[in-house]
C-alpha cells in the first residue's frame, strides 16, 4: 500500500470514529454567552422558588436545607431564588430562618460562610398551615404570586413533597384547587411548575399506579421528579461512564463472560425511629423496589443512543420489563428478620424488640433474591440481590463475577487459590472500582493467587463530589430528568416486587442474628447454585 493510500485510509477511520458534534444547548438557544466549549460555566437554574412541604421533617433538615445552602455556597443558585417553607407550625419567617440556619450549619458539606447564609436567609419565607386548611393554601398561592414581584422569581416553582405519601392526595388537590400546579406547557405560560416526590412511590403496582395517575393529572408527566437519591451518587453515574465510554469492559459485559452478578446493599443500622413506617413496608418495598432494581437496570441495560433522559429511560425500562423471577420462590426469594445480637462491639436488640414493633411482626429486614434478565445479553446469568439491616457493615456494591477461563495451562494445584475474576463497583462507602484477577506469587513455583487493582474515588475526589441531594435538587431546578425514574420505571419495578410480596404474605421470615451477613437460607440459596456470596 502506498503511503498516500494509507494516509487517506487512516483519515477515513479517524473521521468515522470522530465523536458526534456536541449537541447544541437546547435549553436557551438564544444566549450568546453560553457556549458548549466553555465548560467552566456551571449550569445555573433560572429564577425560581423552591416550595417545601414538611420543611420541619427529618429529611428536610438533614438533607434538603443543607443541600440548598451548599448550592448557594457554590454559586449554583440563581440570583432570584426563594425558599418557601410550609408546615403546620405557628411560625413566622423568623423561626423558619432560625431552623434553616441550624440545619444548614450542622449538616452542610461546604465551609460555612456567614455572608452566603445572610443572602439566602433574606430569601427564606414561611407559610404556616395544615394540609386541609384552604386558607393556608390560598395564602401560599398569593405568596407565590407576590414573590414574582418582590423577588423576581418569574413564576417558576418547584414543589418538594417531603411528607408521608398518604398526605399526597390532599396536598396535590389543594395545589390543583389554588391553580399553583397549573402549567400545561412551559412554552405557552412562559414559566414552569414542577413537583418532587420521595420514595416510597406507592406500596404495590396498584397503589403506585393510582399515585402516579394522581400526580401526573395534577402536574404533567414531564414535570414530576421522583427522587431516588442513589441515582445522584457519583459512582452510579460513573457506572455509565465506565461501561459506555471505555472499550475495555463492554465486550465482556454479557453472558459469554459473566458468570453471575451480585448486588449488595447492606446497612449496619436498625430501623431507628421509623418503626411504624418500616413495619408496614419491609426491605423489599423500602429499598429493593427502587434502589436495587435501579442499580440492576443500570448494570444490565444496553447502551443508550445518546445521553439524554429519554434514551436512558428507554434502555432501563427494557431491562426492568425483562426481569424474570425464579420458578422456585421458596428457594430463591429469601426473607430475613434480625434477632438480638452483637454488632460492632455493641449489643443490639432484635427487630421485634425495637420500639413500637409488634411482637409477632412478620416484616422482613433482609431480602435475598435471584432474578434473571431475559435478554440476549443476559440470558442464563443469575442476578443475586441482597439488602438488609443490622448487617456487619454499611456497604453498597455491584459485583460482576466472570467465568473461569475455559482452559489454563497450569496444574490444578498451581491455581488452587485462584478465584474467578471480578469487577466490583463500590457505590458506598469508598466509592470506586476494583478489578480482581490472578497473579503469580513470587517464588520458584508457579502459584497463582487473586490480587486486586483498585480505583478509589474516595481519597482523592470526595472533597469535590457533591452530595446526592445537592445534585438532584439542582437537576430539578434546571429541569434535567436524566437521573429521575419516570412512572413507567416505577411501575415496572413494582411488577417485579408484587409476586414476591404475594408469595411471602403470611409467611414468617427466616431469622439472623444482628451483626451477621443474613440468614443461613440465603447462603444455602447460593450454595445450591454452586456459588457463594462475596464478602463486601
Amino acid at each position: 500500500m502506498s503511503a498516500e493510500v494509507r494516509e487517506s485510509a487512516q483519515g477515513f477511520v479517524r473521521e468515522s470514529a470522530q465523536r458526534k458534534p456536541a449537541r447544541t444547548q437546547q435549553r436557551r438557544p438564544g444566549n450568546p454567552l453560553r457556549d458548549n466549549a466553555d465548560r467552566r460555566l456551571p449550569r445555573i437554574p433560572p429564577p425560581c422558588a423552591l416550595v417545601v412541604f414538611g420543611i420541619t421533617g427529618d429529611l428536610a433538615q438533614k438533607k434538603l436545607l443543607p443541600a440548598v445552602y451548599d448550592l448557594a455556597n457554590r454559586g449554583l443558585l440563581p440570583t432570584s431564588f426563594v425558599l418557601l417553607g410550609f408546615a403546620r407550625r405557628d411560625w413566622g419567617d423568623g423561626e423558619f430562618i432560625e431552623l434553616a440556619h441550624k440545619a444548614a450549619k450542622e449538616h452542610a458539606r461546604t465551609p460555612w460562610r456567614e455572608d452566603v447564609w445572610k443572602r439566602l436567609a433574606a430569601s427564606c419565607k414561611f407559610v404556616p398551615g395544615a394540609f386541609d386548611d384552604d386558607d393556608a393554601f390560598d395564602t401560599l398561592a398569593e405568596t407565590l404570586l407576590d414573590l414574582e414581584e418582590s423577588h423576581g422569581v418569574a413564576g417558576n416553582a418547584a414543589f418538594y413533597l417531603s411528607i408521608p405519601p398518604d398526605s399526597f392526595p390532599i396536598v396535590l388537590k389543594q395545589m390543583q384547587r389554588t391553580g399553583m400546579s397549573d402549567n400545561i406547557d412551559d412554552s405557552i405560560t412562559g414559566y414552569w411548575r414542577r413537583v418532587v416526590v420521595e420514595k416510597p412511590f406507592g406500596r404495590d403496582l396498584l397503589s403506585s399506579r393510582e399515585l402516579n395517575e394522581l400526580v401526573d393529572s395534577v402536574f404533567t408527566a414531564q414535570d414530576v421528579f421522583r427522587i431516588d437519591h442513589y441515582l445522584g451518587k457519583e459512582t452510579v453515574q460513573n457506572l455509565l461512564a465506565l461501561r459506555f465510554a471505555n472499550t475495555l469492559f463492554e465486550p465482556v459485559w454479557n453472558s459469554h463472560h459473566v458468570d453471575s452478578v451480585q448486588i449488595t446493599m447492606a446497612e449496619d443500622v436498625g430501623i431507628g425511629s421509623r418503626a411504624n413506617f418500616y413495619d408496614a413496608t419491609g426491605t423489599a418495598r423500602d429499598v429493593v423496589q427502587n434502589h436495587i432494581l435501579q442499580l440492576l437496570a443500570l448494570t444490565a441495560m444496553e447502551e443508550p443512543v445518546e445521553y439524554t433522559p429519554d434514551a436512558i429511560r428507554t434502555e432501563k425500562l427494557k431491562v426492568l420489563r425483562a426481569i424474570s423471577l425464579p420458578d422456585d420462590l421458596s428457594r430463591y426469594a429469601i426473607r430475613g428478620q434480625y434477632t438480638q445480637g452483637w454488632l460492632a462491639g455493641q449489643r443490639v436488640p432484635g427487630y421485634v424488640q425495637e420500639d413500637k414493633v409488634p411482637d409477632d411482626s412478620k416484616t422482613e429486614t433482609y431480602v435475598a433474591l435471584r432474578l434473571g434478565v431475559q435478554t440476549r445479553r443476559w440470558a442464563g446469568v443469575p442476578f443475586y440481590l441482597r439488602a438488609g439491616k443490622r448487617l456487619p457493615r454499611r456497604v453498597t456494591e455491584i459485583a460482576l463475577t466472570f467465568r473461569r477461563a475455559p482452559h489454563v495451562p497450569f496444574t490444578a494445584s498451581d491455581t488452587e487459590s485462584l478465584g474467578q475474576n471480578q469487577l466490583v463497583v463500590r457505590v458506598q462507602p469508598d466509592e470506586g472500582v476494583t478489578l480482581k484477577f490472578g497473579s503469580k506469587v513470587p517464588g520458584t513455583v508457579m502459584e497463582v493467587r487473586d490480587v486486586a487493582m483498585d480505583f478509589l474515588y474516595g481519597t482523592a475526589f470526595t472533597e469535590a463530589s457533591p452530595e446526592a441531594y445537592e445534585r438532584l435538587l439542582l437537576d430539578v431546578l434546571i429541569g434535567d430528568a436524566t437521573l429521575f425514574p419516570r412512572h413507567q420505571e416505577v411501575e415496572a419495578s413494582w411488577a417485579v416486587i408484587d409476586p414476591l410480596e404475594e408469595f411471602w404474605a403470611g409467611q414468617h421470615p427466616a431469622h439472623y442474628r444482628a451483626g451477621e451477613w443474613g440468614p443461613v437460607e440465603a447462603d444455602q440459596m447460593l450454595a445450591s447454585d454452586g456459588r457463594i456470596w462475596r464478602r463486601p
Binding site: R28, P29, G30, N31, P32, L33, R34, D35, A37, D38, R39, R40, L41, P42, I44, P46, P47, A72, N73, G75, L77, P78, T79, S80, F81, R113, D115, V116, R119, E148, E149, S150, H151, G152, A154, G155, T189, G190, Y191, G432, M453, D454, F455, L456, T459, A460, F461, E463, A464
Partner: protein, 356 residues
Amino acid sequence: MSTLWDTTGTEVVKALGAARRNGAAVTSGLALTFVVVAEERHVEMAEAAATTAAAMHPCRLVMVVRRENTAPTPRLDAEVSVGGRLGPGEAVQLRMYGRLALHAESVVLPLLAPDVPVVTWWPGKAPDRLGTDGLGVLAERRVTDCAVHDNALDALRTRASDYAPGDTDLAWTRITSWRSMLAAAVDSAGGPGRASVTVTGGRVYGRPDSASAALLAGWLSSRLYTTVKVVDSDPKAPEKGGLPDPGGVSGARLDLAGADPIYIHHREGAGVVTRSGRPDSSAALTERDIGELLGEELRRLDADESYCAALAAATNSRGLSRRPGTRSLIWEDPAAAPDKRGEDLTVAGKVQGSRR
C-alpha cells in the same frame, strides 16, 4: 517522608518508588502530574495552594525551586512524601542550585507519572516565553498568573504573543463566577411570556490595569461580536461598578435590544443584578483562594477555547487558536551574552514526554 541532600535524579526516583510502596493504598488512580515552578519566596503560598488543588484531583505533585543559579557547583536537594504535608497524594519537592536549574527537566522527566497529562504552574512571574523553561515545554497545560506582574496588562499581552493552546491564566479563572452570573442574567432576561432578548453590547467596570477585567471584556467581545471596553469603576456610583473585587472587576453592563440594560455590580462579596422594573437580586461572588482556582484549572486538561477567544479579543491579536499546541524548547542562557539569547534549538522531540 524522606529528605535527600545533594542527591541525583535517580535517587529521587528510587525514593519516590519506595514511598509509593509503603503507602500504596493512597496513591492509586493518578490523573495528572502537577509541576509547580516556584521561587523560594513563593514556596509557602505555592505549597498551600498546591495542597488544596491536590486534594481535589489525584495527582503527583512535583515542586521545583530554583535557587542561586550562579552557584559554582550544581546541586539537588529533594523531599519525597506520600500522603504527607503536601496533600493526600505523592509529592516531590526539588531544590536546584547552580547550572542544574537550567536543566530542571532532566530531573523532572523521569518523575512524571506514566501516560497522564502534565500541568505546569508558575506561582510567581512566568517567563516571557514559556518555551524557554523546559518545565513548560514538557507540559500539556500551562498555568500562569498575570496578576503577579507589576503591569498586568503588559503581562497579558505577553501571554497573547506567546500563546499556545493549553495555556491559561489565573486572571481568567478568577472571573468564572462573573461570567457565570452574566450568562445567567441573560438566561433570565427574557422572563415569563417575553421573547428571548438580544444582547447588543456592554461595558465592563473595573480597575483599568486589571487583567481579569480585560479578559472579561475580551470574553464579552468575543461572544457578542462587538467591542466591549473596560471603564474605570466609580466607587460612589453602584451602576458604574462600585468597589472592585480582588480580581479588579467591579461590575458589568449588558445592553439589550429594545429594553433597558442589565447592570451587575460587586457589593460585599455578592453580585447584584439591577434592571429597571425588576427587583434587585443577588448571588454570592465568593472570593476563592489560589488553591481553589487551581482546582478549577486542573479540572480541564485540554485547551480552553473560550480563554483563547477572550485573550485574542482582549489583546487584539489574531490566529491564536491556530498555533501548534506543543512547544519547543528555546534555549536561553542567563549567563550568556544577550545577543546570543533566544536562539531556537529544535530539541523538542527529545525534551518533552509529549503524549500527542
